[in-house]
């Protein structure tokens, strides 16, 4: 008080520089925020339904979704449908990614062949593959094979383009070094080209796991007896919104889990890559 009365600014002691850290910016804090957001959303939704602001018939309700989920878990149908979709999506993903990557890498061997087929690849890629779904069902039937085939058609081209591009981008200095050592073309391929394409190919896994699910679900929409796509499609035709939501949330969860599975695969396959988060620039 006396300081102010004297009209002098208080002499601020040099404060130790302390990096301000937001209260919630820790692993637990962030998780708490994320959980709170989800809880808040569902609470608003439920309240809205109970007050009559939101139509239960058109939007479903969290309480109904939960009840449906428990019922379907008990009857076992949810587990069966989920395992069908997971199987179709994973198998399609693995076949499509492996075949596409191998084909893309093989194009490195011959610039001539690569140049000849390049416009065809672009053409195939520019077709929305989902449009092929009816034909694929005609060819492969309404069973499991057609869903896998659809997932393959979506994932293979992505993997092929990524692998071919990565092989083209492989460090030419490393290849030059191998040539000066007297390496053969096979040795250059296996020692310089293939290893350098692994990170970009794994990066496509993240996109392709989503495409695998898209292929499986769309296939199930069109014609099927099982699967989450089948579940969602039939439920929506009965205006059973709660069941539709159960299917959607399970799909979301699946995508989430598969994404982290790929994270683990990445860390095992490319230990020489420091994770990108650790050397991110703080702005």
């Amino acid at each position: 008080m006396s300081v102010i009365a004297a009209g002098k600014a208080p002499q601020a002691a040099p404060r130790p520089v302390r990096r301000k850290r937001p209260l919630f910016n820790t692993a637990i804090g962030r998780a708490a925020l994320q959980a709170a957001a989800v809880v808040l959303l569902f609470a608003l939704w439920q309240t809205g339904v109970q007050l009559g602001w939101i139509s239960d018939f058109l939007f479903g309700a969290p309480s109904g979704i939960y009840a449906t989920f428990i019922r379907m878990m008990k009857s076992g149908e949810l587990v069966i449908d989920t395992s069908y979709t997971v199987f179709e999506a994973s198998l399609g993903f693995v076949i499509g990614t492996v075949a596409g990557s191998i084909a893309g890498l093989a194009l490195w061997y011959s610039i001539f062949v690569a140049r000849v087929v390049e416009p065809f690849i672009v053409a195939i890629n520019s077709v929305p593959k989902i449009a092929l779904a009816p034909i694929i069902i005609l060819w492969f039937g309404t069973g499991l094979v057609s869903k896998v085939a659809l997932a393959v058609s979506l994932t293979a081209i992505v993997a092929l383009i990524a692998a071919y591009q990565a092989a083209k981008d492989a460090d030419t200095d490393l290849q030059a070094l191998l040539i000066s050592m007297g390496a053969t073309k096979h040795q250059i391929f296996s020692k310089a080209v293939v290893p350098s394409t692994i990170p970009p190919i794994i990066a496509t896994f993240r996109i392709n796991i989503g495409f695998g699910l898209v292929g499986a679900v769309v296939g199930e929409f069109i014609s099927s007896q099982h699967g989450l796509g089948h579940l969602i499609y039939t439920a929506s035709s009965f205006y059973d919104l709660n069941t539709v939501w159960v299917g959607l949330f399970v799909l979301m969860l699946l995508g989430f889990v598969l994404y982290y599975v790929i994270d683990v695969i990445e860390r095992v396959l490319i230990p020489w890559k420091v994770s990108s988060a650790s050397h991110q620039v703080q702005v």
Partner: protein, 266 residues
């Protein structure tokens, strides 16, 4: 007088590149000799084609005309017989230090067990024992270039082609690695051709310095460097060092006197 035995003779090499429709002549009848156990530095104005001649010797590109004579025989290139080291260390990021060192031996098809034994000896000698399983990313620039040097030496190449191998390093690390290089070249009885833009490095390390003209490159002069000191640090304090340095600067048309005034008279 009978000179020392010639190991590699570069004869009348011509090379032109097409650039935006026009033809750029890079090498125009380049000829020089490398003796057995020689240490030759090639200096010249930047962009004069020093790297091009290395790429021709290593078999990465073909000359338009001219020939290479290696130990009396005309050869297309020395692919597989040279140890090429560049400014970038070119360590394979997905290989550990040990596997990087083994690269050349793998290419050659040497049995892994014998190769590993040899690699351990080299890593020990170069003070890199204990880093066998480290990835290049975790090493300092100097350590990485040392790994690259081991990778080159372990193949026991006929000629080492060093293309500004130390120019990306700080001065202290560079002096240290120059010493390591000089020492190992003497221990392993190697022939070295060093491309550098650093006159000081050329004088301190070499037995002879080849000065090239600007593009298209031809040999302007060849200087013998008569400094017996083996360490690059003591070589720099030799009383003849300054004389060689000044002479080579003159050859490269580098202004040795301060000439600030004429610019002000415009």
């Amino acid at each position: 007088m009978a000179g020392p035995a010639i190991q590699l003779s570069v004869r009348n090499i011509h090379k032109a590149f097409a650039s935006k429709g026009a033809e750029v002549r890079v090498l125009d009848g380049l000829s020089f000799d490398i003796y057995e156990r020689d240490f030759v530095s090639i200096i010249g104005p930047s962009g004069c084609g020093k790297t091009t001649i290395f790429n021709i010797i290593a078999g990465l590109i073909e000359p338009d005309s001219g020939e290479l004579i290696y130990r009396g025989e005309a050869v297309a290139s020395l692919r597989g017989q040279v140890g090429y080291m560049m400014q970038k260390d070119l360590l394979f990021p997905w290989r550990t230090v040990l596997d990087n060192v083994l690269l050349g031996l793998e290419v050659r098809g040497v049995a892994r067990e014998a190769a590993v034994k040899q690699a351990h000896r080299h890593l020990q000698a170069f003070g890199l024992a204990g880093f066998e399983n480290a990835y290049p990313k975790t090493l300092s620039g100097g350590m990485r270039q040392r790994v690259a040097l081991i990778r080159t030496l372990i193949m026991d190449p006929g000629i080492l082609l060093l293309d500004e191998p130390f120019s990306a390093l700080d001065y202290q690390t560079r002096l240290y690695l120059e010493g390591v290089l000089k020492q190992s070249v003497e221990n392993f009885h190697k022939t070295v051709v060093l491309v550098t833009h650093d006159i000081d490095e050329a004088v301190a390390l070499s037995k002879r310095v080849v000065v090239l003209t600007g593009r298209p490159a031809r040999v302007k002069t060849v200087h013998d460097i008569d400094i017996a000191e083996s360490s690059p640090v003591t070589a720099r304090s030799d009383r003849r060092f300054a004389g060689y340095f000044r002479k080579l600067c003159g050859e490269l048309d580098i202004q040795t006197e301060a000439q600030a005034t004429p610019a002000l008279e415009i």
